[in-house]
């Protein structure tokens, strides 16, 4: 992947290869925290931060420690530990500086630890053999892509509050249908840039 510009990867991660709408990773918090724009943005920013941090940290840990020692097979456990520590750090930060957001995010803040989008990005980075810069931009791009998706969904759901939705489709039902339509709409971006 040496020859691909990091910015191509960055934009591809946001639009064509959106971690949520193309790979369907990070779905559970997407479904549950997308009821209000304000909280959705809070969680989106938190996920973006964790993704950028962990893609950089996991890159360094993987290529500077695990590869030279031929311990690549330890990557799952190591990646998870790094992610957990980053989320813990973020939680302390949010608790101190934005208690309202802290209470609104509730259990979904610590659950970023096991958000599959986060581990997914770190693993994609390894599988696709990205360089450091590519990895960081891939992480940040994926985070922004996730933020974009949850923001769009929260906007739609805020409007849906006032609409009459058939009883069996209320809540997760209609949300999943909209997610599907959004995913199809994002296919429209596929001509712009492409990775894998």
């Amino acid at each position: 992947m040496e020859n691909v510009s990091p910015w191509v990867i960055f934009f591809a991660a946001i639009f064509t290869g959106n971690i949520l709408l193309t790979y369907f990773l990070g779905m559970c918090s997407f479904l549950s925290v997308s009821k209000q724009i304000k909280t959705a943005v809070g969680l989106g920013v938190a996920v973006t931060f964790v993704l950028s941090m962990t893609s950089a940290l996991n890159y360094l840990v993987y290529y500077r420690i695990l590869v030279p020692l031929q311990l690549e097979y330890l990557r799952y456990i190591v990646f998870i530990v790094v992610i957990a520590a980053t989320v813990q750090l973020l939680e302390m930060f949010i608790e101190r500086y934005s208690e309202g957001l802290y209470i609104n995010l509730g259990i979904f803040l610590p659950l970023i630890t096991v958000n599959c989008a986060i581990l997914g990005v770190s693993l994609f980075m390894v599988i696709r053999k990205y360089t450091f810069i590519q990895s960081v931009l891939f992480g940040t791009g994926s985070g922004l892509g996730w933020l974009l998706a949850i923001l769009a969904m929260a906007g739609i759901r805020e409007r849906l509050n006032e609409e009459k939705i058939p009883q069996p489709l209320r809540g997760p039902g209609i949300t999943l249908i909209i997610t599907g339509i959004m995913a199809m709409a994002f296919i429209g971006f596929s001509g712009i840039v492409q990775i894998q």
């Binding site: 840990v61 520590a85 750090l89 101190r96 209470i103």
Partner: protein
């Protein structure tokens, strides 16, 4: 093989160690709010270590705001005005604060964290609230589910309260329950008795504190309580006093009646007491004694579902039935209502009183539970 194991453990251990160190440093940095100053009523200042809730910070300085739920943000007793340094209203508070209170910058002390210097306003009466250590000198059954608990004060040795007020009793951990909470109970003893207080405690199924009192507490044990608190006390006036209580709601009424007997009140007083059947009825002899001691006092017990073998010629039905019938016959413009009981009973009685011309500003009660 051995080398590989050692290497793997060392790598994982090393990574974990580095991350742990980072987290420890971050904890020191983020969770450390340093020393904060709380200014109370622009007069007193307290120095506390930041990071805990305002309620527990004040408790640690021996200032006790009432809190029946023990800081879980449900009872809304610990409301206080915070003029500076509180930050934005949290989602856990907004449901319990009215529009007016939000404007007045009223907050729940149990939800507000002390993160910076605060300026707060609390009622002067709250400074009278103290923490007491007391010994259980009597614990006896009044009915099958209500116990009388008499506490002898050890430190401080005396309590000064207004009849009708309550205290908050703290439980001790017992098997199955490790939690410590404090719950509100009205004082039943007269206020000229300053060395002992009586409480009446009804067993609430699954209740942390009442289960402890009923099944674990023993005579001779020492307990901790804070008080006195509450705005339920006799108001000046010349009109009739209508008291309504059910179950352990008897407690504050006994204290009020002792006060009325002591001052030889000439006001007309009628006390409606609701019980299910005869086995729920207690303190009848004491009430008959009050009827002799207080010139114009009448005790009206009513049974809602007497047992088939109960011999009963008194009132029947929910307490609102005799209350409504009585109020319809009397002239109510100056009458005052004093209530103590479950939320359901309180609401029903307030409605009955309102319908019969006793307006809510003349109805007094403390909304526990």
């Amino acid at each position: 093989m051995m080398d590989e194991i050692i290497l793997t453990v060392a790598v994982l251990g090393g990574i974990n160690a580095v991350l742990s160190v980072i987290l420890v440093i971050a904890e020191r940095f983020f969770a450390n709010y340093g020393e904060c100053t709380i200014t109370i009523n622009q007069d007193k200042t307290l120095k506390v270590t930041g990071g805990s809730s305002l309620l527990s910070a004040l408790n640690s300085q021996k200032i006790f705001l009432p809190s029946a739920c023990g800081g879980r943000g449900t009872c809304a007793y610990c409301k206080c005005k915070i003029t500076e340094g509180a930050g934005t209203v949290l989602p856990t508070e907004s449901a319990l604060l009215s529009q007016q209170e939000l404007q007045d910058r009223v907050r729940l002390a149990c939800q507000v964290k002390v993160k910076s210097d605060l300026s707060i306003q609390i009622s002067e009466a709250l400074f009278q609230i103290k923490e007491f250590e007391a010994e259980v000198v009597l614990l006896k059954d009044l009915t099958y589910d209500i116990k009388l608990l008499r506490l002898h004060l050890l430190r401080p040795e005396e309590i000064h309260f207004t009849p009708g007020q309550y205290i908050q009793l703290q439980n001790k951990p017992y098997p199955k329950v490790r939690e410590i909470v404090s719950r509100a109970y009205s004082i039943a003893s007269p206020n000229d008795e300053t060395k002992n207080i009586d409480l009446m405690i009804r067993l609430v199924p699954e209740g942390i504190c009442t289960t402890w009192v009923h099944h674990h507490l023993q005579e001779g044990e020492r307990v901790i309580f804070t008080g006195p608190m509450g705005n339920f006390y006799l108001r000046e006036g010349t009109g009739e006093i209508i008291m309504v209580a059910g179950g352990s709601g008897m407690a504050p009424m006994v204290s009020l009646l002792s006060e009325l007997a002591r001052i030889k009140s000439q006001r007309k007083i009628t006390y409606f007491f609701g019980a299910v059947s005869k086995k729920d009825l207690f303190y009848v002899e004491e009430m008959n004694r009050f009827e002799k001691e207080i010139p114009h006092f009448t005790f009206v017990p009513a049974l809602s579902q007497p047992d088939p073998d109960d011999v009963w010629d008194g009132e029947r039905g929910l307490i609102t039935t005799p209350l409504d019938a009585y109020l319809k016959k009397m002239d109510t413009p100056k009458a005052q209502g004093y209530l103590c009981g479950s939320p359901g009973m309180l609401n029903a009685c307030i409605k009955t009183m309102n319908n019969n011309g006793i307006t809510s500003d003349r109805i007094f009660y403390d909304p526990f539970a």
